[in-house]
């Protein structure tokens, strides 16, 4: 198409007589154009090109993937020569699907990835550096300034940008305010500020008959390793622990790690306000039990109103739920895990396709108010261009949502993230389901993580 486009233009050019006046006019126009270019950073898009077929995969989320689909469709309407073969996969499957795609030569040219997987792709040179100018930024610094620092750090390596940030959000503690009132608790005043308080409040909220919970006070999601990591990460960090030391050795079996796991298990062991066997065996949706009012507090990413509506119309209409900050070990340092998604480009994609993907990504993220309208309260990664909009400002508890995003700690950056997540998930299962010795479970886990890291280094 590009070639034929040039051919179509060629006779016109040949038939136009270039005079000195028209040449000077052209130079003048070019100068004006160049002068105006920086101020049009975000507005200028590449000219339509094609025919080009792009494959592009994203994660599944009813609000988010529908919005991305809408934007992709709009992009294709504007760029008639470009066809985007867009597919989405579940949150936990996407990374594996992409790995399989790389193994079989069927990986998409562009895809969305969880930020926690960036080291996995980067350490294996699977994704290509991006042209920030094509994304609308005049310099790397301008790009960095436009996103939360901790988040964008993971997308930048050796001064090159490898990920175009899409969303970033932090976990929150959702409270059922009716349950609080029933238990004679004030959701504002009595919201748990420390993990200890969380256990005590959860115990008051829980209703148990015999060996069966009619209502759990609080629960940790148990269905996927990724959720285990997101929920355990801030506890470990708040206890003064870390995932790895400077030499890369896994340190989750440190005293801080043991303390963190003790806190993690305390809701079951000490406060008996949670039934992990029930949690693991049910709920196709992690927050289902909260929305069905079978649990009074649940830690999750922001829950969009349509999700509440789809499960519990009464709760949505009466609004007897609210997000608050996650507890902390120190009540003054409450923070959750924050994570997000980047758009990236497959290193094997042709130059032409890489350029088209830049244009696609830039187009998708060019209207963040529209993004909020369709996908709020999921917060876009970019700092500017949406937070001041009245629709955003009027959203219930938006301050809590943005605070969780801005204060959130990122997941550990390691090329063996999937192994780490699986190993920690199993350790948590052993401790919470089998009442295993915490130190022993963490020692085993740390040894397995070290082995995985060693194998990665020696490329086994």
């Amino acid at each position: 198409m590009e070639k034929s486009g040039k051919k179509e233009g060629a006779p016109k050019a040949a038939g136009t007589k270039v005079t000195r006046r028209s040449f000077l006019k052209g130079v003048g126009a070019l100068g004006l154009g160049l002068a105006a270019a920086p101020s049009m950073d975000r507005l200028a898009f590449a000219q339509p090109k094609g025919p080009l077929k792009l494959s592009f995969w994203t994660w599944q989320n009813p609000q988010q993937h529908t919005w991305i689909q809408k934007r992709v469709k709009m992009f294709m309407e504007k760029n008639k020569g470009i066809q985007v073969d867009w597919q989405y996969f579940t949150f936990t499957d996407l990374g594996k699907k992409i790995s399989v795609g790389y193994a079989t030569g069927t990986a998409p040219e562009g895809f969305a990835t969880g930020t926690w997987l960036m080291p996995t792709w980067l350490s294996r040179n699977m994704i290509a550096p991006m042209d920030i100018k094509r994304l609308g930024y005049s310099s790397l610094q301008n790009f960095m300034n436009d996103y939360p620092k901790a988040f964008v750090d993971g997308a930048v390596k050796d001064g090159k940008v490898y990920g175009y940030p899409v969303y970033v959000y932090g976990f929150l503690n959702y409270l059922n305010t009716n349950h609080f009132k029933e238990a004679k608790l004030d959701p504002e005043k009595d919201q748990p500020k420390t993990w200890e308080e969380l256990g005590q409040v959860a115990k008051k909220l829980a209703i148990k008959k015999g060996n069966k919970f009619e209502r759990q006070g609080f629960k940790f999601a148990m269905h996927a390793p990724m959720w285990t990591m997101v929920q355990f990460n801030p506890i470990l960090l708040q206890c003064g622990g870390s995932w790895f030391d400077k030499s890369g050795k896994c340190t989750i079996n440190s005293d801080a790690g043991v303390r963190a796991m003790t806190i993690r298990a305390s809701i079951i062991r000490q406060y008996q306000a949670e039934d992990p066997a029930d949690t693991i065996a049910t709920s196709p949706l992690p927050m289902m039990d909260f929305l069905k009012e079978r649990v009074s507090m649940f830690s999750t990413h922001c829950i969009p109103l349509p999700a509440v509506k789809s499960q519990n119309e009464k709760m949505a209409a009466e609004g007897y739920y609210r997000p608050v900050q996650m507890p902390g070990v120190d009540p003054n340092k409450r923070y959750p895990t924050a994570y997000g998604f980047n758009f990236v480009v497959n290193v094997n994609a042709s130059k032409e396709k890489q350029e088209a993907l830049h244009d696609l990504y830039r187009f998708i993220m060019s209207d963040l108010v529209d993004c909020w309208k369709d996908t709020g309260p999921f917060t876009p990664a970019r700092k500017s261009g949406w937070a001041d909009d009245p629709q955003v400002k009027n959203y219930p508890h938006i301050d809590e949502i943005i605070k969780a995003r801005d204060n959130g700690a990122l997941l550990p950056e390691t090329p063996v993230f999937n192994e780490l997540a699986d190993i920690v998930h199993q350790a948590v299962q052993k401790v919470t389901l089998e009442n295993a010795d915490i130190k022993k479970a963490l020692d085993e886990a740390a040894a397995q993580v070290d082995k995985a890291t060693e194998e990665f280094k020696t490329k086994k």
Binding site: G95, K96, S99, V100, Y102, A103, T120, R124, N125, M126, N211, K212, H223, D275, P276, A277, D278, I280, A281, T282, V416, N418, E419, D422, H425, Q426, A427, Q429, K430, L433, E434, A436, E444, Q448, K451, A452, E455, T458, K459, K460
Partner: protein
């Protein structure tokens, strides 16, 4: 006349004799299947064996590392646990499938009322989508699910089927037996119907009890079928993946992680294709043992 591109080859012009023409067309007919097997079966198998001697992370070229993968996996507690789980699962499920399948076949063979209806309805378990089966059983095994409700009159209390490491694998064996036993029941039934009635008539005249009739006539006569069922179901169980993957995800704490799950995780989640290939070669060897057994049993069957 055989036309390939511009060249026109006349088979008859080759002056092929009848025998040669038969051979020629025979080869031509089986060629697609042979090519299919070479490209899609043996090719990947040989490739996997090669990969098992390499370090391969999917993106960069495979790097030869000798026996490193094999040496390291036999020291790996996760692999040893998965190997143990696989063997326990094969033995347990095979026994359950065989005993249950044979029991059901004997029951149907007694000529109970509506036996055809029972046979058809039991066989339905085999044609139901595996995903639906797993999800339904997940709910049945819930701490407050139907299984525990049925068992409650026995005073067993709450049983955490899927979250107790001692019970999770047996729970998956129960699902396996539920799904596959009716299929093998049909196989057993075919064997039972082939036992000559005269033998039972003679035993009746001699005053044999039903137990001695079973152990002295039925079982010896259908022993090749029993061996067949044991070997085939063992092969089936060795490859099991979806049931533990969907029902327990390999948990709790790796208690239900079998080798095929470990291969998937190692290869596609941890990007260690060489190591995954080495584990798959070991699984292949386990299955090879059962296949050799099956071949031997069939040779004996002919003698029988």
């Amino acid at each position: 006349m055989l036309t390939i591109g511009r060249a026109q080859i006349s088979v008859s012009r080759w002056q092929l004799g009848y025998e040669s023409r038969i051979k020629f067309w025979g080869i031509m007919f089986i060629l697609p299947t042979v090519l299919f097997f070479l490209i899609f079966k043996y090719g990947p198998m040989i490739w996997a064996i090669y990969l098992s001697f390499t370090g391969y992370d999917i993106v960069t070229e495979p790097r030869y590392i000798g026996l490193s993968n094999y040496l390291s996996i036999f020291k790996d507690p996760i692999f040893l646990q998965a190997l143990n789980n696989t063997l326990v699962y094969i033995v347990g499920s095979t026994m359950a499938i065989t005993v249950l399948g044979l029991g059901l076949a004997l029951l149907i063979n007694t000529g109970i009322k509506a036996s055809r209806f029972f046979m058809s309805s039991m066989f339905l378990t085999n044609i139901m989508p595996i995903l639906a089966v797993c999800l339904v059983w997940r709910f049945l095994f819930h701490p407050h699910g139907l299984v525990n409700q049925f068992l409650s009159p026995l005073g067993l209390g709450r049983i955490d089927w899927l979250t107790n490491s001692s019970l999770a694998l047996p729970a998956i064996m129960i699902v396996t037996a539920w799904r596959f036993a009716p299929y093998f029941m049909v196989v057993f039934l075919a064997g039972l119907l082939a036992v000559p009635k005269e033998l039972y008539e003679a035993a009746d005249i001699d005053g044999a009890t039903s137990v001695s009739r079973f152990f002295r006539i039925t079982l010896p006569m259908i022993s090749p079928i029993v061996f067949f069922v044991v070997v085939v179901s063992a092969l089936l169980c060795a490859r099991i993946f979806l049931m533990p993957f969907i029902i327990t995800g390999g948990g709790p704490g790796g208690a239900t992680r079998v080798l095929s799950m470990l291969i998937y995780e190692t290869g596609f989640s941890y990007l260690k294709m060489g190591r995954a290939a080495a584990i798959s070669v070991i699984l292949f060897l386990i299955m090879l043992v059962f296949t050799i057994l099956q071949i031997r049993i069939f040779s004996k069957t002919e003698e029988y």
